[in-house]
């Protein structure tokens, strides 16, 4: 069982929506021990099966509203209305996990990277690319110390 799952989501064909998958690609190329990298266009309920195989998870997404260059936060299970759309948010996925497996999901965190332009066929915007650099540095640090107390220190300092 990999200790840490990094799960990026977003559409690589839609400008800054590619931030999550792009960061995942970068981390995957490092071939870090005990780190599993996954990405998908959007979160769906079947991704609970990915969570089942890890001890700690970091979701990575583009966000139009978060602070620059990124926001790092802890998240918990929450039954919310994101189910009514065609994609789920991470908290809803954690809630679904508890319904499917009858136990709490692994400790989860969310790294939101600030994006600006989500146009079809666009490349990453310059600003988003700069934010990605900063977010990648944080993600590498997190992967190097994948335990809860240390990650919580990052929350305090974020």
């Amino acid at each position: 069982m990999a200790k840490l799952l990094l799960f990026g989501y977003g559409n690589p064909g839609r400008g800054d929506d590619a931030l999550g998958p792009e960061l995942i690609e970068r981390i995957a190329r490092l071939h870090l021990a005990d780190v599993e990298c996954q990405n998908d266009m959007q979160l769906q309920v079947e991704h609970v099966t990915d969570l089942a195989a890890c001890k700690q998870v970091l979701f990575i997404d583009a966000d139009m509203k978060c602070a620059e260059p990124f926001e790092f936060s802890g998240i918990g299970a929450e039954k919310n209305d994101s189910y009514t759309s065609h994609a789920m948010n991470p908290s809803a996925l954690l809630h679904a996990y508890s319904r499917v497996y009858g136990k709490d999901a692994p400790p989860a965190f969310l790294l939101r990277i600030r994006g600006y332009d989500f146009g079809l066929g666009d490349a990453l915007s310059d600003q988003a690319s700069a934010n990605l650099e900063a977010a990648t540095r944080l993600a590498v640090e997190l992967c190097a110390s994948a335990n809860l107390p240390i990650w919580r220190e990052y929350l305090v300092n974020a």
Binding site: Y9, G10, N11, P12, G13, R14, D16, D17, P21, Q38, N39, D40, M41, Q42, Q44, V45, E46, V48, T49, D61, A62, D63, M64, K65, K79, N80, D81, S82, Y83, T84, S85, H86, A87, N89, A92, H95, A96, R99, V100, R112, G115, F118, L120, G121
Partner: protein, 499 residues
């Protein structure tokens, strides 16, 4: 009111019409907007489903080398990227002069397509539509979702999760990764399926078959036991689909078959490379989407439906035994004729899911599937390639023209949702006439309209999902265009009345 708007038939609208706008639709793939045109007596005169579709994409790929196209077009959709890849790959095969793939490449593509269709159908029924069907269209929205199903029907919901996961495992095994894999190359495939990968996929196949049978039985029970479902959003239409050379259900490669509402064949085993001689696309000023129609029947009568309902109605048989038995029960329900019930799309969709599971089982036991002859010899280059497959949502056309350098000079895509465009408008009109009282937009009305649209499993494009970008807005305007009422549903599901 938009004074420049015209009706689907192109006629000017009456000045006494009132417009109700619902924007966008939730729980379909992407975003859309519904405009209901009311007359002075508050009857629905016309329904318009606005969809931001793929027109920009056709322009976007111009100038790209043809060999890149199967990978670019995957980015059209977060749910069925494989369908676009395969349709484009078939077109590219023609561009490089390939008439026939190697047995292994052909079967790998079919396996990929069955995996894609299975996971897409599972997503639609278990995640998007089962809440409506199990809890009722007017039930509490807080319960009417996949987690509500997990709470009340945990065993069923878990089957849905695992079915979708299984389909994605097939895609990942063949494509190398879960999304945006690189399975196809001109004239074949670029990765063999290993014996170890095949064995892993076979591990759960008996469960997959059993769950698909259960899903068919559940949908059959729901539809036949609820007379109110049978007339809901129901319209009588022509049907278009591919069929195999023997008239069997065929999702990857076959000839086009069109039949009128009473079953009369309009054309059959038609070579799809000549589609422009039987299908024309009408442009209407109020929509990005075109309105395809069968030329022989004309604009007014020639619109048609595609997708599971069309395919299961249109075929003469299904080549896998369990799905064929299910199809026969479906036809018995229609007394041997077509089943036109719009909500029967769900039933037909699960029959196809069962067919996919059976076909996957068959292919995984075929020795060719782990072969290594992946690419056939390329022939003389051609300037035009047209690939057609039956995507989960219906017949999908990819048409490319290249220049002397191999760059895309022109592209035309007819996606399944475009073919169902007029049919969805008609279904929306049918439901709105029954549930809109003309005075207030209610959440109940909104959901009833969505149930009708969702039956078609429309792909409204996009797949972008950035946080905070999923509002749902309903507007009611009077005959003079003044705002009477507006409901806004935020990305967090909160509903706010702002007028």
């Amino acid at each position: 009111m938009d004074q420049n708007a015209t009706s689907p038939s192109g006629k000017d609208q009456s000045p006494n019409l009132r417009r109700v706008a619902i924007d966008p639709i939730s729980r379909v793939e992407g975003h859309g907007k519904i405009t209901l045109m009311l007359d002075a007596e508050n009857h629905i005169h016309e329904a318009r489903l606005h969809i931001v579709e793929f027109r920009g994409f056709e322009k976007f790929i111009q100038g790209r080398p043809y060999w890149e196209v199967p990978f670019f077009v995957q980015r059209l959709c977060g749910i069925c990227p494989v369908s676009h890849q395969l349709a484009a790959a078939k077109a590219v095969d023609q561009l490089v002069g390939v008439e026939q793939l190697t047995p292994t490449a052909y079967k790998l593509r079919r396996l990929l397509h069955f995996g894609q269709t299975l996971q897409s159908h599972a997503l639609h029924f278990f995640h998007l539509s089962s809440p409506d069907l199990l809890f009722g269209f007017g039930s509490d929205p807080a319960q009417r979702n996949i987690v509500g199903v997990l709470d009340k029907y945990p065993e069923l919901a878990l089957k849905g999760v695992k079915l979708r996961k299984f389909g994605q495992q097939i895609i990942a095994a063949i494509s190398g990764k879960r999304i945006h894999g690189t399975a196809t190359v001109p004239g074949g495939m670029n990765k063999a399926l290993t014996i170890a990968e095949r064995e892993i996929l076979l591990t759960d196949i008996n469960d997959i078959l059993a769950w698909c049978q259960d899903a068919v039985a559940l949908n059959e029970q729901i539809h036949t036991a609820h007379p109110e479902h049978q007339g809901y959003a129901t319209i009588h239409s022509n049907f278009l689909s591919m069929t195999g050379s023997g008239g069997e259900l065929e999702l990857y490669h076959g000839g086009l078959r069109a039949r009128s509402a009473d079953g009369t064949k309009i054309f059959d085993q038609f070579d799809y490379r000549g589609y422009q001689s039987v299908i024309r696309e009408e442009v209407r000023p109020w929509s990005y989407m075109k309105f395809p129609y069968l030329i022989e029947l004309g604009k007014q009568q020639g619109w048609y439906r595609v997708g599971p309902l069309a395919r299961v109605n249109n075929c003469d048989f299904i080549a896998t035994p369990l799905a064929e038995a299910a199809r026969k029960r479906f036809r018995e329900f229609g007394h041997g004729g077509f089943v036109h019930d719009t909500l029967a799309y769900h039933w037909a969709r699960m029959i196809e899911a069962l067919h996919c599971a059976e076909s996957i089982d068959e292919l995984l036991h075929d020795p060719d599937i782990t072969g290594t002859g992946l690419v056939t010899e390329l022939g003389d280059k051609r300037s035009v390639g047209i690939g057609v497959i039956e995507a989960p949502r219906g017949t999908l056309f990819h048409h490319y023209q290249i220049d002397e350098q191999g760059l895309i000079a022109k592209a035309n895509l007819i996606v399944s949702t475009t073919s169902n465009n007029q049919a969805m408008n008609e279904s929306v009109r049918s439901v709105a006439n029954e549930y809109l009282d003309g005075h207030e937009i209610t959440e109940g009305l909104l959901n009833h309209l969505e149930v009708a649209v969702r039956a078609y499993d429309p792909c409204l494009s996009c797949a972008t999902h950035a946080l905070g970008k999923m509002p749902l807005q309903v507007e009611l305007l009077d005959a003079d265009g003044a705002l009477l009422d507006r409901l806004t549903k935020g990305g967090n599901g909160m509903i706010e009345r702002t007028a």
